[in-house]
Symmetry: C2
Subunit: 359 residues, 2 copies
DNA sequence: CTGAAAGCGCTTACAG
DNA sequence: CTGAAAGCGCTTACAG
């Protein structure tokens, strides 16, 4: 844990700091110098001070990736997508989770990130307000946003159309004969929360489905627990034959509540999530979900950033990622028996009794 | 994106750079100076260059947290635990995922992290070899390891006893009357992979359970997919009434394969995972798992690091986190019908036929 | 309260 | 090929 500097190595090797720097950066040097410097550097456990290096070369060779919620696999996929591209380009990646709860967190994280520790920033904010937009517009390093921006904002971004995504899900459920489609959303005021509610509303109108407050639930978080609680509440207070949740975590939470209530998926209630996370393949039943190409959006964001880094004055670019429905067993059509479902009613009773005994 | 410096602000405000620095760092200054500096700084969108600041103050006010696999919720919990503590202490947190696949990744990530961009490092490596130990021992900043270290290594660390954890799981299954307990492990050569296999072996011997190669599977990754594949293989080639997977992701993958094969959990096969991730609550059925206190280990690691930062010469400390079994429906005892299980055999057939039609 | 100056540890023209 | 020197943008004693 003792820090040695270039000067220490230079002294040890009997050369100038310039020579040490050259050797360590692979620039031409005599073999004798090179060997001696390397030997001394190694024996001293020398590691360059990156802050000093960055200060001099005006680059950190790092990119910051900032997301809201590390526990959400969709964000993790984005980060992994971005990482793959950036790593290939020779950048190190630093992740920061800003924590959707605290605007405070966002402020400090952005501050940290925007200067001195990164050459560029990829950010996928849950909430996009005008203050954040201004902060990003004036950032001292190139920024790419994953998510929507006010029309005309001069920031590269990659967007998806989650309104459309929700409509794909609604069409799918509608085609399966489902009519009373409940919707569990995340918090309003967030980008996904707002867009997905819009999507639900437009689909309900377009398809002529029942438009009832009782079929909608807003939660305070895109989490398993909130999805489960909202679904439990829906089950008690509402009648529905399908359920769309605004992300996969909530959908899986909801399936849990549905199973606890003794209702079968998809027979009694078809369930659809959003994000098409890997876990959709392994839930029981496997979860139909709307892919918003999280990993790909991460990759695209990284490419946009590399482009901006290479050409700072390139025209602003916005890339769209199309949503896509991925159907799985949670909306398998074959067993839907309509509203009058005596089979699942019987199942229901049995399962309820069983649960009661266990918990 | 235009970068202004302290000197720009000083010029604009008609004061020295020293005064600007003082104002911006909250040191005493006349009200007139303070207001003018702040105004100019704001209008210039000034943000301090953190590399320069770090170089001068010899601190970055950042901590690096390095994990192997961002997709694994256990690691995410650790990071979140560490983050909570470090944030309270005024540090910014930078996450890096080293990617278990490439030793290359580990090298560069460590290099990046070890000097200049962080004041300390928390690392939870999947593989702990002597080279890594040496690297960490000679790191220029304090290091805390989450995971085992060779006896006597002079690095603070927090460990859990996953051998014991596995034994708790085995005891639990044994008490439920299960005797043919299959085990799906991650790769050998990894810390958890090795320890958990040891645990399984010792439990099998201690409990007098059948010790057959056919009941064990090694995978190349602690993932959903590998867990599912290993379980599918076990189902075809082996007889078992319980299954322990070396982490929750593999356990959930395995439950998926078991469901596909038409076998019911826990009636026919009881399943246990390790890590007690949040998703265990929401899987279907909810998954019994061994908690290794991931979040808490993250917190403890952060506290150890803060202690080391405050007292560089404090004695080396190792903290143990005890494993704990959390029983849920995937090992519910009530429905176990023993090896001769005609009910689940019938289920099996029906489910198989159904799947075939769908995929 | 304020400014001039030194210096953190590097890199990089510039001479030689 | 090599060294002396300047300078990246800050902070901080040190004088005044």
């Amino acid at each position: 844990m003792v820090r040695s500097t270039l000067a220490d190595v230079a002294r040890g090797a009997g050369v100038s700091v310039a020579s040490v720097s050259r050797v360590l950066n692979g620039l031409p040097a005599s073999i004798a110098t090179r060997d001696r410097v390397r030997e001394v550097a190694h024996s001293l456990g020398y590691a360059p001070d990156l802050a000093a290096r960055s200060l001099k070369i005006r680059r950190t060779e790092q990119i910051s990736v900032v997301i809201d919620d590390l526990a959400n696999p969709a964000y993790v996929s984005m980060m992994q997508g971005a990482e793959a591209v950036l790593r290939d380009a020779g950048y190190r990646i630093q992740f920061s989770s800003i924590g959707s709860d605290s605007d405070l967190g966002l402020g400090t994280a952005l501050h940290a990130v925007s200067r001195g520790y990164a050459d560029g920033l990829i950010i996928c904010p849950l909430r996009m307000n005008s203050e954040l937009v201004e902060t990003l517009r004036h950032a001292p390093i190139p920024v790419v946003v994953i998510g929507g921006l006010p029309r005309g904002t001069a920031i590269d971004n990659v967007v998806t159309d989650s309104r459309l995504g929700v409509n794909l899900a609604m069409d799918h459920l509608h085609q399966l004969g489902r009519r009373r489609i409940a919707f569990i959303d995340g918090p309003l005021g967030t980008n996904p929360g707002d867009r997905r509610l819009e999507g639900y509303r437009s689909a309900v109108e377009r398809l002529g489905l029942p438009d009832e407050d009782g079929l909608r639930r807003l939660t305070t978080e895109f989490s398993y627990a909130k999805g489960a609680a909202a679904a439990a509440d829906l089950i008690v207070n509402s009648q529905f034959d399908a359920l769309l949740a605004a992300n996969d975590m909530m959908a899986i939470g909801a399936m849990h509540a549905i199973a606890r209530a003794g209702l079968r998926v998809p027979h009694r209630v078809a369930v659809v999530g959003i994000d098409d996370s890997e876990m959709c393949l392994y839930s029981s039943p496997p979860l139909t979900s709307v892919s918003l190409g999280s990993r790909h959006r991460g990759k695209i964001a990284a490419r946009l950033l590399l482009r901006r880094l290479a050409r700072p004055d390139a025209p602003i670019k916005r890339v769209r990622e199309a949503p896509r429905l991925v159907a799985r067993d949670s909306t398998s059509a074959r067993d839907f028996t309509g509203a009058d479902d005596s089979t699942s009613a019987r199942d229901s009773t049995g399962a309820r009794a069983k649960r009661r005994g266990q918990t």
